[in-house]
Structures are given as structure tokens and as C-alpha cells.
């Protein structure tokens, strides 16, 4: 059986110990730096989930009527682990820390860190002072760091219950060798309960008994939500009077915005503007380090993850910027505290420096600010990453990768690469906090929660194929998606972007990857089926990062189909390739430019309507060009064939647009057929030429449903 599914034609993108914990100095197993967490296994039939809490303070009162499902709220939790072995002591030592819960539509990745909380009161009956959850994300002393918590399972279920099983590993940190070793695997049955006073969201509080791998109860774990962010830090920016502060890109995207993308609540402290050159305009690494120590506002890394960025004229050891607090320069032996960048380096007046040739670096706002983010990325424990044009790639590589008509710095990607995003969210505190593990250790030496426990079913596969192997620059790209199901697992019956089951990415000739997802999120319950085959079509033009196909050359389109069955996440993926051809002539180039630079073109393509004049004008620019016209014909025909407030459906206009050469996906033919049928039902007689044209296309595509509908008209 084959089911054809359309996406409404408009697709557009974007808008995802019997062994309690050992005492310090306990046995160490294998040394390494623990691996980050993967997305998690979820769901057991007898365990359940309540609705995710809103991002607002809510009373602790029990919900009524009882919600059917509950899921861990994303964000940072104040975590406390109390080993049972110490429970009979009046003021037992325990461990405090944070648990980071990252969620998207399907995946959950969680990780945490634990710090020893020693009794500090001289009186044994007075308990130690606890972190105040009302103050948000707590910061703990480096010397007390003990464990990375690698979360391996969050078995939230689908039944009406308020418990779930949390599986995790503890990786003990050795301060002498600065490495982690696996302590053991544990599980806790966590239950939601009312929070003690002071928590910002009283209903997002959980407790559970922890058992070791042998099933022996070893302690008690509590988790209380304290912030929508995962981590908290401060960036102090000091500068020379003549140097520009690196605070934002040309579009106004600043430090807080960028780090909020990865769950960091980064506060910028724009501080000194009167740094003094120690020995002339060019700074050595040692001078940078000494100046940081002398001029920063605070050095209390046990209470503030504070990074320092200096903006000065020039640097001895590099043209643009350096994270100097590494290797032999780290005179105070506190790694990764600061970076410095040069405002007065003059960018070479030659290729490949594009639009910033010959400019003084501080005046080239985009690459200048990007360098600041790059260097602070090193301070957060990241290394160079060439997987995309993100922050940790090098400026040289990005500049050399720009392909016409795009020029450097237009090809800068204003985000971290996906693997770096995960590292910033889930690497151990000691990896990314200033003063932690020295710069230069291999990523593989750190633990990290498992990456993605989404199930890739053997019985389901997806095929991705562009409708056309070559597409002219500026045209929307139509992609056919076919989901094959050998049975056993229900699969989505709607492969449109609108349904929310399909997301993906496009990698352009320069290697830059841009994501796309539905502009409209489906809020209805998913319909699942066990059909043998489901097909759908996507029409792609823009994503959140701009045009998906901005230049000529070869492209790779990756499509992920993801869905849940009883809260168990599944995903299948596939890729297809196509070629975008360069402008055929000046008129084509102008029309393509208009389309590619008009964000509303996407919305018009996706949702139609007469209200987005910029979008309609951009679509018309495409229609007025001979090369692009066939590719935009359906977009405009769909718009005019649908009534809009007082305007009636214009089937004549649609018929004139949909000639033989109109490029249409199967989904678009189905959509057009439905519009024609709807018009007929409302009393309009569809032009015979339109019906014939559609029928010919439907027949060529073997779109049986559309053929049948058109025959009945």
C-alpha cells in the first residue's frame, strides 16, 4: 500500500555503596575523561509522565485533575546526593551539584556534576549551609569537585504515574591527574514531590532512592529545578581606549544570545576601558596574562565562572586572537581563564578576505566579534572544529571557504557546531569552567553522557531524492521523501514539515550546514500507522540561518524523520544530493537575489495569503524570470487559488500559471487538486485546462488519489 502525503505545498523552514559514594581518595578504576551523555532511553509501560511545567513560577498545589503524563522539565536542577552510609551521622557529608536536562522534540540528554559538601560548622548538630535554590544555578568550589554524572536512562513512561527510573554512571575526578574514572552504574526511582521552600518552581522537585548495580540501596538523590539555563558564567571585557570592545556582531547578536543557544546564562561585564600597553602596541602572551591578573574585577572562580577577554591593538603571537591561558603561559597555574584579541591588525587587502579586505580588524565587526567568541570557546575547553563554519572553525578556513556570490564574512555561521554545542552543555564542569582541566587534553579523556539513545529501527528506512537533480539559483528545491516500513513499528503517516516529524539540514558547497524545520508546529496528536510505505514532499527555500541554497554548486540535503511511540523516540535519516546551477544571465541573477534576500518569500511560500507584500513581490520577481518561473508557478498558483478574506479563489489565474513546465512535487499536485475540488464544492467551476494540466501531472507521477479526484470533477 502506498500513501501519498503532501505538505500543503508550502514548506519552509524554520522557524531543535553497599557501595555508597566513596570518600575522597577512594579506589579508582580506569582513568580517562568521561564521555558525554547521549540522548536517553525513555519510557517503560508502567511508568509515567506529567506535562512539562511552564516557564513560570507556579504554586506547589497538587494539580487537579491529575495530569496523565509528566516529563522532566528542561533546565538546570540543584542536585543533592546523600549516601546512606552516612545517614546516621548528625551532619553527614553529602554531595551537591547540578543536573542539566536538555530536551528537544524527541531527545533528552542529561548530565551532572557533584561536589563534596563538607560539614563546616564547628558544632556537629548544626548542618552545613546549603545552596540557595532561589538564586538560580549554584556555583561550587573547584576543590570540592568529585563526580561527573553521566545519565544513561530517563525512563519516563506514558501511564498515569509520577515516577520514573533514572539511570546514571558516576565518574570520579582525580584532582592530581585531572582525569576521571568510572565508579559504577546506579539507578534511582525518582518521584515528583513538593519542593522545600525557596525553589523557583515548587512542582519540579524530585526525590529517589539510589541503588547500585547489585540493587543495594546506597543513598538518596534529590533534584530541584532552578533555571531554564544549564550553566551560568560571566565574561569580563577589558580594553584599551583605542580598541573596540567585541560585544556583538553587525546584526546585534551578542554574547548572551549566542551562549543562550547552548544553555549558558552568560553575563557580560563590560569593565575597564583604560588598559595600558606594557611594552608597546603589541602584547606578548605573558603580558596578556599578567594584565588579566592585575585588572580583572574578580578572581573568585569558586563563586563565579568568570572568563576575561582583553581587546588590545596587536599581539605578538598571532594576528587576531589567542586564548593565552594555556601551556607555558599559565603562570598562576589556573587554566583557561582568559583570552585576548587585536583590534589593530589590518586584514590583508587580497583574497580571500572578501568584504573586509584592507580593514582594521576592530572595524570589521563580524569577524572581530567572531574571534572573541572563538577564543572564549577555547577558554571553555573547545578546540578547533572544521565540521562546519561555526565558531570554533578558524577564520582562515572560513575566509577561504566563501564561494561566490557569498563573500567572507557573509559565510560566518553564528552558532557552535552541533558537537561543540553538546560539549558546552554536557562536558563535565571541570572541563569547561575556568580553572578546571588544562587546555590540551583530548576530548576522549572526559566522560560525556550518551549522545542519542533515539532508536533507529531496522525495520524502517527512509529515502530522500530531489525532484530535480539540478535547480537554478534562487528556485525553491523540492525533495521527495519515502518512508519504508517493514512492519512492527507504527510510523508517521504525514511526512510534511508541518507535521513536525521531519526536520533536516542542507550543506552547501562551502561546507556550511543550515537546518530546516517546520515553520508551523503541529499541535495535534500524531497519527501513526504501520503502512508499508509513506511518501511526502518538502519544498525548501530558507531556514533560520537564511537561504538554504544561497550559491551555485553541489548540495547535500539530509532529512531526519523522527517520531515517538508511547514516548519511545525513533528516528531514521537519509541524504540526497543536487546541483544548484549559477545564474543564466543578469536577469536571472537579479531575480534570484530578490528571492534569496527576502525572508517573507519563505512565509509566502509556506502559508500563502495576500498580506506579505514583500514575500509576494519576491515570488513575482521569480515568476517574471523565464528561468525561475516554472519553479515558482505553483507557489503563486496555490496562493491565488485559495480565497483570502474578501478575495475569491482565482482558478483562472491559477490555470494560467500552471502550464506544462510548472515544476510540482507530488504533494503539490495533490494540494492543487484539493484546492480545485474545494473550489468546485463552493460553486466555482474549475477551468478545464487546469483540470487537464493537473491530471496529466498526477498521472505522470502515479498519484492515484489525485487522478481519481480530478476524474470525478
Amino acid at each position: 500500500m502506498s500513501i501519498e502525503q503532501g505538505n500543503g505545498g508550502g514548506t519552509v523552514v524554520e522557524e531543535g555503596p553497599g557501595e555508597a559514594l566513596p570518600a575522597p581518595g577512594g579506589p579508582i578504576v580506569t582513568q580517562y575523561v568521561p564521555s558525554l551523555p547521549d540522548a536517553l532511553e525513555e519510557a517503560e509501560a508502567d511508568e509515567a509522565v506529567l506535562p512539562e511545567a511552564a516557564d513560570v513560577l507556579e504554586p506547589a498545589a497538587a494539580p487537579f485533575p491529575p495530569p496523565l503524563k509528566r516529563r522532566l522539565r528542561a533546565g538546570c536542577y540543584l542536585m543533592r546526593y546523600t549516601p546512606i552510609a552516612h545517614a546516621t551521622i548528625a551532619a553527614p557529608p553529602h554531595y551537591d551539584g547540578t543536573m542539566r536536562i536538555e530536551r528537544d522534540a524527541v531527545n533528552t540528554i542529561a548530565s551532572g556534576d557533584l561536589y563534596l559538601h563538607r560539614p563546616t560548622s564547628p558544632h556537629p548538630l548544626i548542618p552545613p549551609k546549603e545552596p540557595n535554590p532561589a538564586k538560580g544555578i549554584p556555583i561550587f568550589a573547584i576543590r570540592d569537585y568529585r563526580y561527573y554524572v553521566r545519565v544513561t536512562k530517563i525512563l519516563e513512561g506514558a501511564a498515569a504515574a509520577t515516577q520514573f527510573k533514572l539511570g546514571f554512571e558516576l565518574h570520579r575526578f582525580d584532582h592530581a591527574t585531572r582525569t576521571w574514572s568510572l565508579q559504577g552504574a546506579y539507578a534511582a526511582k525518582m518521584s515528583w514531590t513538593a519542593a522545600p521552600p525557596g525553589y523557583p518552581s515548587p512542582k519540579d522537585y524530585l526525590t529517589g532512592q539510589v541503588r547500585n548495580a547489585s540493587g543495594v540501596a546506597v543513598g538518596v538523590l534529590t533534584l530541584g529545578w532552578v533555571s531554564k539555563y544549564l550553566r551560568k558564567a560571566t565574561l569580563e571585557v577589558d580594553r584599551l581606549p583605542v580598541s573596540e570592545p567585541a560585544l556583538a556582531n553587525a546584526a546585534g547578536l551578542g554574547w548572551h544570545d549566542i551562549f543562550a543557544q547552548v544553555g549558558w546564562d552568560l553575563t557580560v561585564d563590560e569593565s575597564d576601558t583604560n588598559l595600558v600597553e606594557p611594552s608597546g602596541a603589541s602584547w606578548s602572551d605573558a603580558e596578556a596574562h599578567a594584565t588579566m591578573l592585575a585588572r580583572r574585577d574578580s578572581a573568585d572562580l569558586d563563586h563565579d565562572w568568570r572568563y576575561w577577554l582583553g581587546c588590545v591593538q596587536q599581539l605578538d603571537s598571532t594576528p587576531r586572537g589567542i586564548m593565552f591561558d594555556a601551556f607555558g603561559t599559565d603562570s598562576n597555574n589556573v587554566p583557561r581563564e582568559g583570552a585576548i584579541m587585536s583590534s589593530h591588525w589590518v586584514i590583508p587587502n587580497q583574497d580571500p578576505w572578501g568584504l573586509v579586505k584592507g580593514m582594521r580588524f576592530g572595524t570589521a565587526t563580524d569577524p572581530y566579534f567572531r574571534t572573541g567568541v572563538h577564543e572564549i570557546g577555547h577558554a571553555m575547553g573547545l578546540y578547533h572544529n572544521t565540521i562546519d563554519m561555526g565558531f570554533m572553525n578558524t577564520t582562515d578556513v572560513i575566509a577561504a571557504s566563501a564561494m561566490p556570490p557569498q563573500q567572507f564574512p557573509q559565510n560566518i555561521q553564528w552558532s557552535h557546531a552541533p558537537d561543540d554545542q553538546k560539549r558546552l552543555r554536557h562536558m563535565p564542569d571541570m572541563w569547561c569552567r575556568p580553572g578546571g582541566v588544562p587546555f590540551g587534553a583530548a576530548f576522549s579523556t572526559a566522560p560525556i553522557s550518551p549522545d542519542d539513545a533515539v532508536i533507529v529501527p531496522d525495520s524502517v528506512s527512509v529515502e530522500v531524492s530531489p525532484l530535480l537533480p539540478t535547480v537554478p539559483l534562487g528556485a525553491p528545491v523540492r525533495i521527495d521523501v519515502r518512508l519504508n516500513n517493514a512492519g512492527g513499528i507504527p510510523v508517521p503517516t504525514d511526512l510534511s514539515l508541518r507535521a513536525g516529524n521531519v526536520i533536516g539540514s542542507v550543506t552547501d558547497p562551502s561546507g556550511t550546514t543550515r537546518e530546516f524545520r517546520s515553520i508551523v508546529r503541529c499541535i495535534e496528536e500524531q497519527k501513526l500507522g504501520d503502512d508499508e510505505q509513506v511518501t511526502g514532499s518538502l519544498t525548501l527555500l530558507r531556514g533560520a540561518d537564511g537561504s538554504l541554497f544561497p550559491l551555485a554548486g553541489p548540495y547535500t540535503v539530509r532529512v531526519d524523520v523522527q517520531w515517538d511511540v508511547d514516548s519511545v523516540p525513533f528516528k531514521v535519516s537519509a541524504e540526497g544530493t543536487l546541483m544548484v546551477t549559477p545564474p543564466a544571465d543578469e536577469a536571472h541573477a537579479e531575480a534570484a537575489l530578490r528571492v534569496l534576500t527576502t525572508p517573507d518569500a519563505l512565509v509566502t511560500l509556506a502559508v500563502g495569503g495576500d498580506h506579505l507584500t514583500d514575500g509576494i513581490e519576491a515570488i513575482h520577481a521569480g515568476l517574471d524570470n523565464d528561468v525561475l518561473r516554472p519553479h515558482f508557478a505553483f507557489v503563486e498558483a496555490k496562493r491565488v487559488a485559495a480565497p483570502f478574506f474578501d478575495r475569491a479563489a482565482d482558478l483562472e489565474g491559477a490555470e494560467q500559471l500552471l502550464g506544462e513546465d510548472a515544476v510540482m512535487s507530488t504533494a503539490e499536485v495533490n494540494k492543487a487538486t484539493r484546492l480545485v475540488a474545494a473550489a468546485k464544492e463552493s460553486g466555482s467551476e474549475p477551468p478545464e485546462a487546469l483540470v487537464s494540466s493537473l491530471r496529466a501531472k498526477a498521472e505522470a507521477m502515479d498519484a492515484a488519489t489525485a487522478v481519481r479526484t480530478l476524474d470525478e470533477l
Binding site: 580517562y32 602572551d285 603571537s317 598571532t318 587576531r320 586572537g321 589567542i322 586564548m323 593565552f324 594555556a326 601551556f327 607555558g328 572563538h374 577564543e375 577555547h378 578546540y383 578547533h384 572544521t386 572553525n393 578558524t394 582562515d396 578556513v397 587546555f439 590540551g440 587534553a441 583530548a442 576530548f443 576522549s444 579523556t445
Partner: protein
């Protein structure tokens, strides 16, 4: 000698601990790109990961490091062997693949 004489893939021969942070394999490309890799299981990130190289005015070889600093190395190229000495005095050798 031009920079082109250095272009190629180089495998580290030295096992001296002082050279442990330098990559086990180093690619030097035309145009001045440098790419370093460690063997699987290495505990250190390569001091030279993604960067550039060029001969400096003082005759030394400059290779950018993983923290964006420009490392300066005295070097000799003899046949297929490239020997470098860093600023801390550590000497290590690569052989052309």
C-alpha cells in the same frame, strides 16, 4: 628552501615525552594549511590541530597552535626527515610518508 618543500604528510617518529602533545600525523598543504592528528586513544589533543604554517623571517618555522598562538620552531629538513625544536628546547622528528 621554500615552504613547498615542506608540503606533504609527516609521521612523528619521536617518542620523547616532551613531544607528546605534537600530532602523530601532520599534513602540510600547499597554500600554508596545516592539519594535525593524534593516533586513536591519545590522551592529548594535538598542539597543532587546524591551522597554518609558514617560514618566518628569522628562518624558523611558524605553525599555529590549538589555542591560536603561533609556535616558532627551529627546523631542519634532510631528505624525508623533518626535525623541529620548540621554544622549550624539545626536539622531535617527523618522517615523510
Amino acid at each position: 628552501m621554500t615552504d613547498d618543500a615542506l608540503v606533504g604528510t609527516w609521521l612523528k617518529e619521536s617518542t620523547d615525552p616532551c613531544s607528546s602533545s605534537y600530532p602523530d600525523e601532520l599534513e602540510l598543504h600547499e597554500g600554508g594549511r596545516a592539519l594535525g592528528r593524534m593516533r586513536p586513544g591519545a590522551r592529548e589533543h594535538p598542539r597543532w590541530d587546524v591551522g597554518t604554517f609558514r617560514r618566518l623571517d628569522d628562518g624558523r618555522l611558524g605553525i599555529t597552535q590549538s589555542n591560536d598562538a603561533l609556535g616558532r620552531y627551529a627546523f631542519t629538513l634532510a631528505g624525508d626527515r623533518l626535525t623541529l625544536t620548540d621554544e622549550a628546547g624539545c626536539t622531535f622528528t617527523y618522517r615523510r610518508r
